[in-house]
Amino acid sequence: MNDKLWFVPLVLGLVALAVAHYGGLVMAPTEAMMGEVGRIMYAHVPTAWTGMLMGLVAFVFACGSLATSKDGWDIGTHASVEVATLLCTLLCIQGALWAKPTWGVYWDWDPRLTSTAILVLSFAGVLILRALVHDQGKRRIVTGVTTILAFVNVPITYYSVKWWNTLHQDMSSGSSIADEFKWSLYLGWLAMMLIAVGLVGLRSAGLMARLRREHGETALPKAKQKIELLAEKGGA
């Protein structure tokens, strides 16, 4: 498959995102409780869904990578961990921007916020460790194991923080979205998914090419064989 094809979902996603955000940020009515601030939901909720889904994708890739020992799964894990880290970082920033005018603070020990931040830290750890290990076989195992544990830990962290929190205060987050503008939320989600798929694909293609270079394979193995054959004939 031509690697350039991954640009198709990326571009489609960006166009869909523009349309969705026009609907959510311009056309939709102002939220009754939160005012204009409430509009961030149209960007925040799609990011949240896509970010968590990419975490799940990374987990699935990591399981596949450990089960099959194939480099393709490992490359997929790396790319999806990167995209998940990016999206979840974005999610934390959006959450903080929304929390300041709504709750009065940038950061609160809300279980969703905290478990997302912990996931970002864990995934960043995976990527750093990966960068330090140079042997591909070892790198595949290390990435697989740390990705699985980082993801398994998310629900445990979520519930422990939730529990810890309920003893102090109860923080509710209203996310009321006008029914007639639900489409812009779902279109936003579709857009983010397309962008994420495009990014994972492009990154995987790039990483795969790098891995091949590391293994000393040329981009044109057949042409290389021909040249060697010709050289042999010439020598004989």
Partner: protein, 224 residues
């Protein structure tokens, strides 16, 4: 067979630690130093120190545990001891459980050594039950030992292990830290509402998940 091998690994680690007692003493002194620095950082306000003592104790344990865990695999990578063990052949899960149980024991010992000091430093008293204290020490350190042993093995050959181990391990230990600090605080101030049971349940769940996952994932890791 699996069990016997694990016991032998456990005995071997115990023997190594016993022959190099100075290292464990240094670790305990390190933990004590952290507790002392906490008191200086917070200031001479006794009430404040007392209120957060359980947090300081577990942070001291966590920080010290990274040194302890990293050391436990240093001895295996030096001179290719790990390859030797694999060739014997030692079944990988036995190796994991042997080492994890040894680390667990060392961590329990560390807490037991550090606790009297924190009682003196933070003017603590036990209002809850001693059984609860024993339980939270056992379950809390178990929750550090299993993922800690696995991650120490993971980072054993990585450059900058001293940095990578806590970087990967600490985010994973958030639930353990929350639950252990909470229950320990309840031991100090008393638990009239009966909140400790739930937190101990959470700790136990975390322990079961990571002691199970640890063996399987370690197997994968060693095979590579």
């Amino acid at each position: 067979m699996i069990f016997r091998q694990a016991i032998e690994i456990f005995r071997k680690d115990l023997l190594i630690e016993w022959r190099g007692k100075a290292r464990f003493v240094a670790l305990a002194v390190f933990a004590a130093t952290i507790l002392l620095m906490m008191s200086f950082a917070i200031g001479p306000n006794n009430k404040e120190l007392q209120a957060h003592a359980s947090g300081y104790i577990w942070i001291a344990v966590l920080l010290t545990s990274t040194q302890l865990l990293a050391g436990s695999f240093q001895s295996e990578t030096e001179g290719g001891a790990l390859e030797g063990l694999r060739l014997l052949p030692v079944f990988p899960p036995s190796l994991f459980y042997g080492k994890a149980i040894a680390n667990w024991l060392f961590l329990v010992l560390l807490v037991v050594l550090v606790l009297p000091l924190s009682f003196a430093l933070f003017d603590l008293s036990i209002q809850g039950s001693y059984g609860l204290l024993a339980l939270v020490i056992l379950l809390g350190t178990a929750g550090v030992a299993a993922p800690g042993t696995l991650y120490a093995a993971l980072t054993a050959r990585a450059p900058a292990q001293q940095l990578m181990l806590p970087l990967l391990l600490f985010p994973l230990l958030v639930p353990t830290l929350l639950a252990a600090v909470k229950v320990t605080a309840l031991v100090f101030v008393g638990d009239p509402m009966g909140q400790a049971g739930g937190w101990l349940g959470l700790l136990a769940c975390f322990d079961v998940v990571f002691w199970m996952f640890g063996g399987v994932l370690f197997w994968k890791l060693v095979e590579s």
